[in-house]
Amino acid sequence: MTPHVLTRSLDRSASIFILVVAGLGLLIPLSNLLLPAGSMLQVPTYLVALFGKYACYAILALSIDLIWGYCGILSLGHGAFFALGGYAMGMYLMRQIGSRGVYGNPILPDFMVFLNYPELPWYWHGFDMFWFAALMVILVPGLLAFCFGWLAFRSRVTGVYLSIITQAMTYALLLAFFRNDFGFGGNNGLTDFKDILGFNVQADGTRAALFALSCLALILAFLICRAVVTSKLGKVLIAIRDAESRTRFLGYRVESYKLFVFTLSACMAGVAGALYVPQVGIINPSEFAPGNSIEAVIWVAVGGRGTLVGAALGAVVVNYAKTYFTSGPLAPYWLFMLGALFILVTLLLPKGIVGTFSAWRESRKATEKANAESAAREDGVGEPNPAE
């Protein structure tokens, strides 16, 4: 039984979203595992991994929507939290390789042997235990976001200034992780994983399970975001988004609200990264590139800023388009399309797909209702139905 706070006031689109994600999360792994290969309905393993990737991106998009769509914080560095979560998971996976690496060292990962590390750096200790790594997946991005947000929001860094310094943050991390002596594999990052919790990461069953887990995480993230934005806290967040100074003058401690939601969002991004890494099989510093974070923001913009379903949908749609176009003969034009998407969505579709759709539906409802009212008045039949 889900706690009341998570299921409260589930409207129709939210219910549909959860049902669809849960259905996909069940059906795709089952079809992949149970149906014979080559059958019409069988989903090949590479697609399972691809869809798993989309699910992780959807979680990242949700986390961005939570702060941008509902609190007006445009972070251009959310990819950093995603990558940090990914690195925490990658470190666990590296430790699981054990002596099966190229150099056969039972403790040190290959790149450390290669770089002549005498022993494991202190920050790699504990990552041989899954629970510790899982804790770090949430804690490290959360802590960074807390410190960063505490400094930034307290001194009222807002708007484009905040966007730029978040970008500087991820850029600094990018530079740091590129360094070989930073202890995270430098340019090549962490890869060549073997096992996760004793299961082979390459195996179909593991991939299917990871996909199902990603869908579950997506649903949970959705419910958490939904709980936040529909609560009283969420109303304050929206107030901050629309009129920060006014909210402050009303007596709310704006910086605490922002800090809470920013940290929560970073933790979610970290989880998304952690699920992403075993499915793609590599994590390297390019995940910190500022361009990635900005791209994630455009997913949200395409789907519909300020609508949770939209954010997740946008991530899947844009990434599907990316996969489709970059693998075909249209590959050289993908950047044109992505660029045009940025421009056109901000100019013509500021509410995104879902936002525009629901606005259109609402306006239609309103006209219908007005029509019905005027028709009713003409008929001389009493007042409109209060239940409507």
Partner: protein, 550 residues
């Protein structure tokens, strides 16, 4: 030789003068022996034969004898020895020089030989001999008619401080007229005396003074190599000289860092100044600003291509042609962007940021499609290539020109803002957009022109950057984050903020680099800026007043 401190001790001066005279006499005798007696037979041939003994001490003697023989073959022989091209036949005791062009001559006579005898083997050297060879070569070129060669030879003697070169140095010093060469000889002589075991204390002290005056890394190496078996006075003088050279070197490395910092700062300023203007006036961050820089650089490339194929004589003026063109190209595109995209997004700075980012992707890809993804070559005109020495640092002309150019652009821009009607309107809109509009300023026209101006300056920046960086579609990307940092650090609405921000960041970066390494230095700067923003959320030079409360 400069006299020692005049009031110190009369006796010393007398003895120094006496020694000088004595040395002059000895020198005269030695020189007569070395140069007046031509190598007719005897010593030169005997010396050559010693190379065939395959014995290190014989080879040493042979080197010394050949070096002072004055024989025209001495230089080719010794340099062949140095490069392993000198071979000897132990049976016939003949020695051969294989020229670097493959021609073989008999070392004793200079007669051409068809091929080496079968049992001829290269004359071997050890480290001690290698030093002797270098010194001998140095001695041989010390008397070269070309002053540059003399100086180079003196430098090599300074490094090797080979005692055998002393006589030659003295004679060369005596007749030297070239000032630089004279100084080099004096330094070489000092280096020899410093290491000469039978030099007097006073000679050594003078030598230390000369070496100290030279004051570079090599002087320091020479002094530190002195060892402990020297008189205490000398050791003390050497220690104090080392300390003074060290502080001298530290000062020069500071100067060098400052210069690098200024140079980096000028590049940052050039890249950021246009961004600061548009951000200040319109409150929008133009993420495609870096691409304007790139377009400027590609304009330079196109201009140079046209000049290369059509008017090669104009190559030196290519940049002068490219600057206005780049301004026009980037400026026109800037106005188009403003009219086509940005004006629809007023009041939504974050959306503007996203839209211009998309635009930057499109522009990058467009340039990639048109010019290819690889680096294009942009040449330096002759007046921008090369370098000159200032004290102990090297300053390249292109960096110097870019610094001057940046400052010129800055001053022109400042004057424009201060004295033209557009500048006045821009400042008014920066301070209070609505008030300015109420006063009859056509703010949308100001916006378009401001955006065009900012982009045009970015284009100019591209011309300058094409001289020091690779011209590729990614050129703009590498500067955009740094430019943001400058604007955020310096604050908007005031060009001085950008100036101070750019040079502060440039210099801080270059001073951190030797301490922390290039990447860590950069990370440190980013972290410092993030922390700085906490203290001053609107940058160093923030506009004050209610107008900026958005």
């Amino acid at each position: 030789m400069p006299p020692p401190s005049p009031h110190s001790c009369r006796g010393r001066i007398v003895s120094a003068n006496f020694l000088d005279r004595l040395r002059a006499v000895l020198l005269a005798i030695l020189l007569t022996a070395a140069f007046a007696v031509p190598a007719l037979a005897g010593p030169f041939e005997d010396a050559i034969a010693k190379f065939a003994n395959d014995d290190f001490s014989d080879t040493d003697e042979a080197i010394g004898a050949v070096a002072v023989s004055g024989n025209p073959l001495a230089f080719p022989i010794i340099s062949a020895l140095q490069e392993g091209r000198l071979s000897a036949d132990p049976d016939t005791r003949k020695v051969f020089v294989t020229g670097s062009d493959g021609k073989i001559i008999d070392a004793a006579t200079g007669a051409a030989v068809d091929k080496l005898p079968d049992n001829a083997a290269a004359v071997r050297l050890n480290n001690r001999l290698r030093r002797a060879v270098e010194a001998a070569l140095g001695g041989l070129t010390l008397l070269s008619p070309d002053p540059a060669k003399r100086i180079a030879a003196a430098q090599s003697v300074f490094k090797s401080h080979e005692e055998s070169a002393l006589a030659t140095i003295d004679s060369a010093l005596a007749k030297e007229t070239n000032k630089t060469a004279k100084a080099a000889f004096a330094e070489a002589r000092a280096a020899i005396l410093l290491y000469k075991s039978d030099a007097t204390e006073i000679e050594k002290l003078e030598a230390i003074a000369v070496v100290k005056a030279r004051g570079d890394q090599e002087a320091m190496a020479l002094l530190t190599g002195l060892g402990s078996d020297v008189p205490p006075n000398v050791a003390r003088a050497a220690a104090s000289a080392i300390a003074s050279i060290q502080s001298n070197l530290a000062m020069w490395s500071m100067v060098q860092n400052a210069w690098y910092g200024l140079s980096l700062g000028s590049v940052l300023l050039l890249a950021a100044i246009g961004l600061a203007i548009t951000f200040g006036v319109m409150g929008v961050i133009n993420m495609a600003h870096g691409e304007m820089v790139m377009l400027g650089a590609y304009t330079t490339f196109v201009v140079q291509e046209v000049i290369r194929t059509r008017y090669p004589g104009l190559f030196d003026y290519s940049l002068l042609i490219a600057v206005p063109l780049a301004f026009l190209v980037a400026g026109a595109i800037g106005v188009l962007i403003e009219r086509g995209i940005i004006r629809f997004l007023y009041g939504r700075p974050l959306e503007t940021l996203l839209a211009t980012w998309g635009l930057s992707l499109v522009l990058q890809q467009a340039v990639r499609t048109m010019f290819g993804p690889t680096n294009r070559e942009v040449g330096n005109p002759s007046w921008m290539s090369g370098a000159f020495e200032l004290g102990q640092i090297t300053i390249t002309y292109n960096r110097l020109w870019i610094l001057c150019f940046t400052l010129a652009v800055f001053v022109i821009l400042l004057a424009m803002l201060r004295y033209t009607a557009l500048g006045l309107e821009m400042r008014a809109v920066t301070q209070n957009r609505r008030m300015a509009a109420s006063m009859g300023i056509a703010t949308s026209r100001v916006d378009a022109l401001t955006f065009g101006l900012g982009s045009g300056i970015a284009g100019i920046a591209g011309v300058a950057l094409s001289q020091i960086d690779n011209v590729s579609p990614n050129l703009g990307q590498s500067y955009i984050i740094d430019s943001f940092m400058v604007v955020v650090f310096g604050g908007v609405g005031n060009l001085w903020g950008t100036l101070v921000g750019a040079f502060t960041l440039g210099i801080a970066n270059k001073f951190l680099e030797p301490v922390a390494g290039a990447v860590l230095g950069k990370i440190a700067i980013l972290v410092l800026i993030i922390l700085f923003i906490q203290k001053r959320p609107r940058g160093l030079f923030a506009l004050k007043g209610r107008a900026v409360e958005a």
